[in-house]
Amino acid sequence: MTLKSTRVALVLLAVGVLVGAAPGEIRAAEADYNHVSITSSAPPESVRWYSEHLGCEAVADRDDTADCFGVEVTFVPQPTMGSTQGTGVNHIGFSYADLTAKMADLESIGVRGSGVRLQRFPGGATLREATGGYLHGYIFDPWGTRIELVEDQENVGFHHVHLSATDPQATLAWYEQMFGGERAVHADADEGVRFGSVWVFASEHPEGTPATTQGRAVDHIGFVVDDIDAASAELRAAGVEFQEEPVVPENGRSAARRAFIYAPDNVRLAMVETGFAGVDTTSIAPVFVDVTEPYDTPRTPWDEPDLQGVWTGNASHGIPLERPEDLADIESLTPEQAAARRERGTLGSIWGYEREWRDTTLGYDPNAPSTQVAMIVDPPDGRIPALTSEGERRAAQLAFDRGRYTNSNIAGPEEATPFVRCITRGLPSLMFPGVYNNGLQIYQGPGFVAIQKEMIHETRVVPTTSRPKDGPTLTSWLGSAQGRWDGDTLVVETTNLNARASFRGSSPDMILTERFTRISPTRLEYQFTVDDPVVWTAPFTGRFTYDMDDEQYELVEYACHEGNYGMFNILSGARARDREAAEAAGR
């Protein structure tokens, strides 16, 4: 309801601007604000996010576009070079009638699972009064776009585009001169150019020249004109440079044309013809690995199966350990479901990390997300077998330890998890794909395989010839590994675990058996069997795959402990809260 009336209002305002333009005034083109183009790793998920959190609506037959109160927000699947900040488009703005309630909603969702990141003002508030007397605050979308939320009762919906300009006055004059618009002052404070209900604001860029928007979170902004030929001629006459002449883009959904021009401050700007309906981009052509053919594993020069190289688990990121109950009878996901799941998995495992941190959303990973329903393949129902009573006790203890770290002011580093302390993620967890630094490098020499994980840097040395067994008191975080070749499969059996980085309550009795098998020229299957009768009533086996990425991926040194500023901050924060609590109690 609200949406429709807003859209009508937008059209009316646009007409108003046209009528209001004084005859003889120099205007290169009479344009209306049309769209924002945002780079995204999963456009359908972005549409869902903008609909769920900002009130936009999906557009029929366009899974890459959200209708945000009359302005199109289009998501383009391409690798991103980073967030909006530092470019010529600092942020975009949305207005809500009751911003206090809106922000409370967004805060209550929490970043984990939603990817809604809040920017807090000094003191911790998410909202405050702007110079113009209205309430405002900032959030980020999961793809790096900074979004201002304002309370502007007269203009609810997509509210503005805020530019970062070397000369704000000149920039605003340029938009007015080139595209029509109306110079006006918002809330008696913010100078801007008004295109219907959409404002274009400009602030002074803090230092130097803004970076180009192209390839960043907001790739470009777009205006719509009735006569693109006339508008182009006039823009050219006004000295505007074209990056791309007006053409019907490849895979355009309509016969309408689009041109790209260079706006001031390195802003990439699209000018589209009326009726333009975007471009049909079917994601970053993912590679589906064909594993139907039997594969002969290459041999090393010393005649052992050759598993050497850099592999990543990025395609497998998002596969749940256990089969979800609502997917009980599904053989595998569709590619679309798989892409959506991985994207949500990424959002679910971030605590406000920028997109640049996340391997799976950067757009460079060539492989399609795995369609595998769950890691656990045995038992066949995909569920971990029942816990023993000792298993229940151990799992509860683990949950208590984790909860203490998450929910209380820890007394010292040992109350944090081994992962937060940079010690280990434990076995088999350290093998699982994560949100970033998913590199796995396998090294081999005669009789030895080394398995190295990039995340917090851990290396496991596996002898493939029989070695004397370690005594039962020689335990360690990653245990003692004994390998052997079963045909072309590397089998690794690990015992002597100290169980201090427990896997769901696993005990020191756990025997972990892993199997590494190359199943195609570029794919490595990883299987793990957990046998721990102290904790589970039966063993269970999971599997997922790694993909060869020797060409572009190199493991970097993840000096986790050496740079663990997080631990200083967690502990000093906990002590500050201790002091606050003591003061409150003494009052």
Binding site: T300, P301, W302, Q308, N409, A411, G412, P413, E414, R421, C422, I423, T424, Q441, Y443, Q444, G445, P446, G447, F448, A450, Q452, H457, E458, T459, V461, P463, R467, P468, D470, L474, S476, W477, L478, E554, L555, V556, E557, A559, H561, E562, M567, F568, L571, S572, A574, R575, D578
Partner: protein
Amino acid sequence: MTKTHTFRITAGVAAIVLAIAAPALAQSGDAPRTWDDRPDLNGVWQTMSSANWNLEDHPSGPGHPDLGAIGAIPPGQGVVVGGAIPYQDEARQRRDENFANRMSADPEAKCFMPGVPRATYLPYPMQIIQGDRKILMIYGFADANRTIHMDKDDPEAPPLDSWMGRSHGRWEDDTLVVDAEGFLGEAWFDRAGNFASNQLRVQERYTPMGPNVIRYEATVEDPTVFTRPWDISLLLYRRLEENARVLEFKCIEYSEDLLYGHLRREPTR
């Protein structure tokens, strides 16, 4: 560009000098060989020098009083060719300050990665896994390791500085020559506070002297800290025990009191 050039020439000269000075030691003799007739360095190795206490000659000295004689510095013969590290004056002062503050300032105390060449002569075993494209060196402290890229004809500049640097290797006859650079400049060379900056470049030479001994030589160059490049030379012995391996030594939890003790609810520092 120029820097690389200078480095190569210097290293070349050093190599010639060493070759002339120690011809008898350059015999790889009956050392095992690989599929392609290179020396086979695969195995678990360990130095028996006191280099990690001090690269230079040093008498015995006191350690932390709480540890009695256990913490004392044992005497040691230096491994620096020519005896002394050619420090610039200011850098020598910094080394002395490092020594005075070593109990809390030595990255080893903090369980930080040891850097190069220190990783080689830590008092723990190291394992070499020598493949046909990469050589992995795994050290028994702080999960430190290095990849020696043997398959890069045109060595790439390190993408970023790191504790263990970036290493490119090649064979010169029976010697594995490794050029390492791209260091953070925060690592120390030993418990005596010897150090370098992020301008450090190290050229290492691993030469088998028979089946169970490798001569390890390293040329250390850092124009901001030293007056000239200098060399160390020591021996690595094969660990011959049947069950010899590099044990996991995740030392982080033993460093946490030192690093975070002042932030505990009940402060310990």
